[in-house]
Symmetry: C2
Subunit: 428 residues, 2 copies
């Protein structure tokens, strides 16, 4: 709960040569198409984060001291490059996470030479290129009252998948890891699990059983094991777990594995009057505590899979108790249906990363007027993971072909993102 996430994107323009990658303005980043080979810290990162997808249960082995040194180095690089101190944002001010300065306007990008007015890049973690340009241009067109693609403020709805789009999803969805920890923690109360799959395998430590399960089965598992909790107990459990649990190979807390470039997109959209919604295949109750604190997205703008729920009276006080049944799996066609039911307006912008997001992108793109569909393509085996057509988690197969037909933007994570995760705090 005390973690601070450093916010970048507020760097003022500085003379060339002094300016580093972190605080790069768009023109300077043009000159550095792939800077991952240059900096020593990149080598360190590569050594640290070259984690195979198969390392499902491997726990972090790097001593904390080395991690702190690395992080301090990263932070320092950022400060020097930026030419001024980075702003920090308290977690309890979620709307400031990744919030760029309001001084710059997208239309000023790529127009250097204004000697006084600062030029601010709202997407500093995005390298210059087609993807970044597509996002910035869409926002500029949608907010240009005199242009043909103007979108009225009430129609500025942007929808985002969560797993693999806003944060990492490998080697398995974070919510499933939470469920596995719950299975282990409450096994004593469930002797029947010793005889029932997938519980028996999980309790024996054999998590390979997860690989053979469908998305529906995984979400159903993550639903079932929390049946009987009140909604408040579940929310507290999620928050507590997220504050301590660490990814088995990166050693980061899961909240630290949100994508910095996407935090910047969320902030840039909101600064331009968009409402940002999450449309997740995960349970909405799991995503909400994270969404509000880290993404700055309020609970009513989180759509997800729906578990059964019942209202009970305990000592005359009504409480909501989670059931064990998965009532609505928010995946594929269901995402378009959930958008109709819970938002009631067709989005103008949709971000996804898997074939499970195609219906959402199709539904978004089929509306009249300017639309933007974006697929995050996981191409970065060094800093994150590389997977698409053959992956069990986050399969992106049909989407890669359909993107060409429909004119969707495909983000090449390795090429387009200068950073992947927010800089972890130096005080860890």
């Amino acid at each position: 709960m005390a973690t601070k996430i450093v916010v970048r994107g507020a760097c003022m323009e500085a003379p060339r040569g002094v300016r580093g990658e972190r605080g790069a303005s768009p023109d300077s980043s043009h000159a550095v198409p792939d800077d991952r080979r240059d900096a020593p810290r990149r080598l360190a990162e590569r050594r640290r984060w070259n984690s195979p997808v198969s390392a499902l249960a491997r726990s972090s082995s790097l001593p904390s001291a080395i991690l702190i040194m690395l992080l301090a180095g990263m932070l320092l690089t950022g400060l020097v490059g930026c030419g001024q101190a980075s702003r920090t944002s308290q977690q309890h001010q979620p709307s400031q996470l990744g919030q760029p300065s309001q001084l710059g306007q997208p239309s000023q990008l790529g127009q250097p030479g204004q000697p006084i007015a600062p030029i601010v890049d709202p997407l500093p973690s995005w390298r210059a290129g087609e993807s970044k340009q597509a996002i910035l241009e869409f926002v500029a067109r949608a907010t240009d009252e005199d242009g043909p693609d103007f979108v009225k403020p009430e129609d500025r709805i942007a929808v985002f998948d969560n797993d693999g789009t806003l944060w990492a999803e490998q080697p398995v969805y974070v919510q499933v890891v939470f469920a596995i920890d719950q299975v282990r923690a409450t096994a004593a109360k469930h002797p029947e699990w010793r005889e029932t799959e997938p519980y028996a395998s999980i309790l024996r430590g054999g998590e390979d059983v997860l690989r053979s399960m469908s998305g529906r089965q995984l979400v159903a598992l993550a639903t079932e094991v929390f049946g009987g909790m009140t909604t408040e107990e579940y929310r507290d459990a999620v928050t507590a777990w997220l504050s301590t649990a660490r990814h088995p190979t990166t050693g980061l807390r899961y909240e630290e594995m949100v994508y910095q470039p996407m935090l910047e997109v969320l902030a840039h959209l909101r600064a331009n009057g968009f409402r940002t919604y999450i449309v997740s295949g995960g349970g909405f109750e799991f995503v909400r505590p994270l969404a509000e604190r880290v993404y700055g997205i309020p609970p009513e703008q989180v759509l997800g899979s729906i578990a059964s729920l019942r209202l009970e009276q305990r000592d005359g006080v009504p409480i909501l108790v989670k059931g064990t049944a998965l009532e609505f799996l928010n995946d594929r066609e269901a995402k378009a249906i959930a958008i109709e039911r819970m938002i009631g307006r067709r989005p103008v912008l949709a971000f996804g990363n898997s074939d499970g997001d195609l219906a959402m992108l199709e539904w978004t793109s089929a509306g009249a007027g300017a639309r933007l569909g974006v697929l995050i393509h996981h191409t970065d085996a060094i800093r994150e993971w590389s997977y698409d057509r053959g992956s069990a988690i986050g399969t992106l197969d049909v989407g890669l072909d359909e993107a060409v037909e429909r004119g969707w933007t495909v983000v090449d994570m390795a090429r387009d993102w200068a950073e992947v995760y927010p800089i972890p705090p130096s005080t860890r």
Copy 2:
């Protein structure tokens, strides 16, 4: 679509004696506990609106000319009483409907004697009394940053039932009338209806069959007959029907049978930073077109019963097609569940009118801090309808007793409301 709804509530303070009921400030309305016997127009209203609940299928018989004269008289009375012209609001500016002037503050109410600053009553259609006071005081306390009952802006969630709370529901829910009209209009395509109840009875003109149907059966009927329509076709059909269909006994369009006092409550809450949600037992797709235009409530803030929906591709374009199954009846306990799923915050204020709203009020009231639960009690057989414990539609039985235990405010429509419906336009 061209209808204007006259907005009151912007009257400046005038000398006593000149001031009429319409523009009454709180202190003056104290002196007129029941003014329904006084004005000639009241007699006219009584003659016109003394409609028994049983007149289900009776159609309007009063000539339009008389209606126009009556309405013109009502408007004139309002203008004289107010001492200045009433503002009018275009339908396409829903947020202005019933919007009080921003000049007055609730805390100024009941403090006459300011010779220059105008005192504006945000609830001019409410007579002074406990109900009005409870609403005004709750809003004042919730927005008082220094007080013990301050509610943070993000937590200012107010939920409203629709049928019988925001508009009339007798002799049967408006959505069911819409469905009956659809049954008659499409009977030729459904020869099987001649042999199937309740269709056969409806087609023979025998609408008494509706009286024996449960709320679930009525909503299921209203769902089934629109199966196969796209969501856009359905929305257009609702909008077209609402623009022409008239209530069988009042002769008013249904949109004109929204409650003026409740429009003022919605506007007053929004002016004080509340978000207003509808939590209806009706289908959300039916309520949304009305809600946005008349209540100023956007589609994403309308929760209701949920029909099946499927995504289809037609000529490569995705469309959403309504199914015939009722998947979620948003009544009783389900209202609390829907609030958790779609809002994710516990409301601080809830308005309902029937036992179907009790779980919503209980869930709202059980939260920590200041809460307000309000039940609209239909006590006005002259201007609207009088019904409670024994009514098939809008049964209010347990709620009348529970309100005492839980400290909910029970609005006596005949006593507390100076007006029921907005003044219909003089240009009709």
